[in-house]
Symmetry: C2
Subunit: 231 residues, 2 copies
């Protein structure tokens, strides 16, 4: 099958007004009641359309969540600019930017922890590695590239171009922890962030050591391969 997936700007044939209305309604209900407790019937009723009509615009309930990804990613990039303008050191930039993610995502924590399981399904368009998620993923990696390039950190020059993608993997790990985090205000995730980001910064700094160079050289192509489409 070679049909084009409904990325936001790919096929603009369908009425965008109704589609946006349904999406906004869904995200609102998700935030209010959580993912599981929001039924497609409720979304349709609240948006003033029929159930079938919602399915005309969104292939499944999961597809509704794609909009959440775009929203969070956009808010995060915007909220991070201030940090990038202020901080110089890699540690502070990384920690600041990821803290911003926690802040931006905070209102959706309960909602997020309910649907993030779907993101682990490789077949789901919600997988962070899926083609549908590519725009959001690339934006996130681009943000981390700014974190690296705008910093004063010194490192193995071979590592620098690959570091943003490595940091993205790190961010995915933080998000996974956040999803599991039941502490009030997700304080445990914040602590994890504060304790791991300096370690990463120090490890990056150590990458200039001669003894480590062959290891890094061998690891780079592996990482490079890791983020290619699995097929």
């Amino acid at each position: 099958m070679t049909t084009v997936q409904d990325t936001p700007s790919a096929t603009a044939k369908k009425s965008d007004a109704t589609k946006a209305l349904i999406l906004d309604t869904a995200l609102r209900l998700f935030a209010e009641r959580g993912y599981e407790r929001t039924t497609m019937r409720a979304v349709a009723a609240e948006a003033g359309v029929s159930v079938g009509n919602a399915y005309y615009y969104f292939d499944s309930k999961e597809h509704l969540v794609q909009g959440f990804y775009y929203r969070i990613g956009d808010l995060h990039v915007r909220a991070s600019q201030e940090v990038l303008a202020r901080e110089q050191e890699l540690d502070a930039r990384l920690r600041g930017v990821l803290h911003r993610w926690l802040e931006v995502a905070a209102p959706y924590h309960q909602f997020g922890s309910q649907f993030f399981k779907n993101a682990a399904d490789p077949a789901s368009p919600l997988s962070p590695l899926s083609p549908e998620s590519a725009p959001v993923r690339d934006a996130a990696i681009g943000l981390l590239r700014e974190v690296v390039d705008g910093s004063t950190a010194k490192m193995d020059p071979m590592l620098r171009p690959e570091l943003p993608e490595l940091l993205w993997l790190y961010q995915m790990g933080i998000v996974l922890y956040w999803v599991h985090d039941r502490s009030s205000g997700c304080s445990r995730t914040g602590t994890l962030l504060d304790s791991t980001a300096p370690l990463i910064s120090r490890a990056v700094n150590l990458s200039r050591l001669r003894v480590l160079r062959p290891l890094i050289q061998d690891a780079i192509p592996v990482v490079k391969n890791l983020l290619q489409p699995g097929q």
Copy 2:
């Protein structure tokens, strides 16, 4: 040798015969048709009981999969003994043991990739970090401890006791890649294993370097904290 009991008989009040029958039937159908395409009605019918009776023994369809964990874990420990007896070097032991996991899990790849999404849900008992999964997790970490302790590898002595849990995290990463792996025979996962295990072995070896010691010292409590129950 660490083994996993086949049925978590914490509450031994309920008849184990019917429970085992239902579980066996379910696992067989999962392997035959996949997880999603196996209905609870089919499981019940095939096992010769009513739908409600299946729910009397298993709280949900997901709970049926817990048995899969136990089975795989047990088979893996058993299949790994030969490797542990033969190999001496950390790289070979680690690679061999994880390759055994791939072999043991191979028949369930399609099935696995369909239900593993549930494992990422923190609320699900299928989460590898959930209390329900503790026996399987501990057995897996124990196996990796044998991998480490029986090897000739030299490392920072502070690292040694924590290494098995780190390797378990590594194994989770491999499994996650395996779940996504669509290549024939999951050859890509095998390749990833062969390329990353030596890197890990070399990194472990480098842990003895004086310059790395403070970094390792600071990282150990973080890792230790990571695997504690999130509550």
